[in-house]
Symmetry: C2
Subunit: 396 residues, 2 copies
């Protein structure tokens, strides 16, 4: 079932593949302008890529005077699988080589059911996508999990909300099942890569992507590349202390951001608050965990429920204080807010903005946009496809 047998032989070929992935079909002449290769060297590299089958001819380009240049594109049959394991649901999508989503399925499921059950479900969703005719097989798969990952080995490490996953060889197991190369990363990093590839962060070099779902995490992009830190835990802001003697957190500490504001915390607050927020759909929510509760608070707030609005504002203030510190420290060019709780939308965004613009140094906030993600649940799966394509479009 393994299909993409060739890899780029050198850095020039890798760069050409990525340009075709990110910019779509293009003429030899215009690619030459972008890679800074002589006409003859470019011709050699493109011919070699055509020989491997990774790239195919795609008709004649528009004339630039003189002989018309040939268009080339990535092989139209290449297929990547993107899997995004959330705390309470699984997203699986298949993309083409340009990372366009051809099909996308979602299935609610608690990550605490453990890796065996989760992967059985994820593989079933992948098989369904394949059976629908979108892919004959997969050339590679990217997968995100909601916790820290030892990136080189593709193994989750001590993930607080994922009992049973610690040390599970995700990359190896999934690669064996799928018969193709697999890369594993933190779900928040994938969201950042997705928004960078096809969403609101296109063309931004340094940015933060804060995901507020059942937990809270932050993707850090430096110079266009995800920064993962020394042991892969960079961006793990959910356990920054916001209350010295605050609530007990799943990680064992007290007063963590995540314990005070996240999908799970919001649901707890909503249940405890008098007057109780006017929650809707609580039956389903109670069954499927905290994130759904978060969505219920959002729905109630959207319907004008004052208690729900208060909860969101308070939470936004807390997240905003942490983001304000990170903005002072990291001086990003953009802050993206995403994840399940972005159903809370503009109320949340307003609180976050207020805190950041009030507390961070003016020099860091002068031209700083703070925006909601554009891609919703597609960000993670597109990021996953991007992750594996970055790997495959690198020199072997």
């Amino acid at each position: 079932m393994r299909r993409m047998t060739a890899r780029p032989a050198n850095a020039h070929q890798a760069r050409l593949l990525r340009l075709l992935r990110d910019g779509g079909p293009n003429s030899r002449a215009q690619l030459g302008d972008q890679v800074d290769l002589s006409r003859s060297k470019l011709a050699v590299e493109v011919d070699r890529l055509l020989d491997t089958g990774l790239v195919v001819a795609d008709g004649l380009a528009a004339s630039r005077g003189g002989r018309r240049s040939h268009n080339i594109r990535l092989a139209p049959g290449l297929r990547f699988l993107g899997i995004d394991i959330g705390a309470t649901s699984i997203d699986v999508a298949v993309t083409n080589a340009e990372l366009e989503v051809l099909g996308h399925l979602n299935h609610p499921m608690d990550v605490r059911e453990g890796p065996v059950a989760i992967f059985e479900q994820a593989l079933a969703l992948a098989a369904k996508l394949r059976a629908s005719g979108l892919a004959e097989g997969f050339d590679g798969a990217g997968i995100g999990v909601p916790g820290p990952v030892r990136f080189p080995e593709g193994v989750p490490v001590a993930p607080p909300i994922m009992p049973g996953w610690d040390g599970f060889p995700v990359r190896e197991a999934l690669s064996q099942e799928l018969g193709c190369p697999v890369m594993v990363d933190n779900d928040v990093n994938l969201m950042a890569m997705g928004e960078q590839h096809a969403g609101v962060a296109r063309s931004v070099g340094d940015f933060l992507c804060v995901k507020i779902g059942t937990g809270i995490g932050c993707g850090i992009v430096v110079g266009g590349e995800v920064y993962r830190g020394t042991t892969g835990s960079a961006g793990d802001i959910g356990h920054i202390q916001v209350e010295p003697e605050g609530r007990a957190c799943a990680c064992g500490n007290k007063g963590c951001l995540e314990a005070h504001f996240s999908g799970a915390a919001l649901a707890r607050d909503a249940r405890g608050r008098r007057p109780a927020p006017q929650l809707t759909r609580t039956g389903r929510a109670a069954r499927s965990g905290g994130a759904a509760h978060g969505r219920d608070v959002a729905a109630a707030a959207a319907a004008g429920d004052a208690a729900s609005l208060d909860l969101i504002r308070e939470g936004g203030n807390r997240v905003g204080q942490v983001i304000a510190d990170l903005v002072s420290f990291f001086n990003p060019g953009l802050v993206v807010i995403g994840g399940g709780v972005t159903g809370l939308g503009h109320t949340l965004l307003a609180s976050v903005r207020t805190q950041v613009y009030r507390q961070s140094l003016p020099l860091a906030t002068g031209n700083l946009p703070i925006v909601l993600g554009e891609l919703g649940p597609a960000a993670g799966v597109i990021g996953a496809a991007r992750l594996i394509s970055d790997h495959l479009f690198s020199p072997a």
Copy 2:
């Protein structure tokens, strides 16, 4: 007076110059191993560098079998000037091309006297170093200032503790006076570069360097390069809020870290505390500003004064809390503590370590050393020399 007229013509030459700077004299054969160039291409590039005079022959290398290779080194007459403007003193040093300090002068002076007076003094110190025979002239100068800098232009921007400096064209003015290229950066970034080049952070790719002097700042190194952020203010952690309704800060906000712990804050606390710490040398301290006060607290603590020790522990706890958050966020491979207040040494370090190891996620602290800087006041001037040499040893 301008001496270094040539610049490397391409990336290979730049890489060779940096290898000779960081590793000292070397044989052609061993350099060839490091730059991954064919023997003939390497010979061409080395010959071109010899023609420019940036590199000179340095005798025969030890035999590796066959013909003996020639040693080469950077021109022994190259001289860089490093200037480190602190809040309360100026450090000026001259280095050779390998960034070894040949001479170093320090002069106490308040940065609030403004750029004209400060530069007059800095230039006088540089002239004194030149007159002592250490340099016939300077091939380039790096300079650090204690505030945010718009890096491409070399201009301080809205620096809270530097009235009179906002928008002053430091790079241009100094370049005109010295007759050589000049690069300007934040003092904390230079400290990080210094510790990386010749101190405790050698060979560490991702680390944080926290400078606690009159103010507090943080140098961020990602993949061996200083990360400056979108507008040059990255690492500006002195204005992270540690007390919601805390002390008024020079920046206009309340409860900033810098207002609660720094050389200046420590001095204020020492004066207000009952029983008063047993300060020494307060006459000199009162004249020369907060940092000297900080040193007095250090001296009293070293002599066993309980009130001084308490002040340091409290301060260390506060800085430690902020560093704990940054460790969770950035997952560095090393944290370096430096600056004037490191006279507080191991008492401070113990408090910081306690907070970080208690509050950050175990995955981020597992192998994380938290250490004092090795170079003291030399870190800034070596970093300044490194900054300008990075600029000069880049393709023109």
